[in-house]
């Protein structure tokens, strides 16, 4: 059961991970983090492929991937 963790404090809400996840498992939150930015959240429903596309494209190195 693969998954990712997201450092929501560092997330700037660029939404590139949302765009590139082949399973659409990352969603934008309406809540703001400490920096006043909309962060993203991972839907841990067991469908994660551990493809790492999100981690690779994240400009802020917020994502770590577990397989």
């Amino acid at each position: 059961m693969s998954k990712i963790t997201i450092n929501q404090d560092k997330c700037k809400g660029c939404l590139l991970c949302v765009n590139f996840c082949p399973k659409a498992l990352i969603v934008k939150k309406d809540k703001l983090n400490k920096r006043g930015l909309n962060y993203v959240e991972f839907k841990d429903n067991g469908e994660c492929l551990a493809c790492m596309m999100c981690a690779v494209i994240c400009p802020d190195c917020c994502i770590e991937v577990y397989k």
Binding site: K3, C14, L37, A50, M52, P59, C61, I63, E64, Y66
Partner: protein, 242 residues
Amino acid sequence: MQKIFSHPKSLRNISTHYCPGCGHGIVHRLIAEVVDELGIREKVIAVCPVGCAVIAYDYWDFDCSEAAHGRALAVATAIKRVRPENIVFTYQGDGDLAAIGTNETIHAANRGENLTTIFINNAVYGMTGGQMAPTTLLKQKTATTPKGRDAKYHGYPLKISEMLAILPAVKYIERVSLHSPQEVIKTKKAIKQAFQNQIDNLGFSLVEVLSPCPTYWGLTPKDSLDWIKEVMVKEFPLGRLK
């Protein structure tokens, strides 16, 4: 479960000042990953640019130097000549490398200094508010080309990598892009090659990275990547030039 993607050791785990969707964050991470994988963190000396990445030394966890605008390759030349056993690289934007620093770039390349240069091409001057860069595309609107770049007044986008490729002492030039995770992986491969070349004493290596600047392109981060893929790549073709 096994962790298959981690925050690299050579990158400090702190928030950066870069805009959301900026390419600098990706390339900083790729360089840190390459440094860790090659095991050269304790040998690396980075020379930072003037531009948005002027404080890259706050993000990388290895020895770094600032340099006056455009002079990174002169600074790096001296560091490498004096400490040939260290791995010395420059990280420069389009103004640093291809406007004010063109002379230092051409001559470090022509002398075949055993250096690695990572050239971030985002077709605009970000730090100072979005002015025209040498690599700004025709018709692209910037702070100093409000009606769009016009070849008659501003010349054409500068193909510095193509110009350097004709120099015999230049050993490796590759143009890559960040417009998708697949391209980012190719970018990492090119960066790794450029560092490996220095370890192997092969000579001057440069990787030009087409990088997004959502803020001064006036596009969302995703649309910026699409603009690179659909427009910028036509002007700056990807691939190995040398």
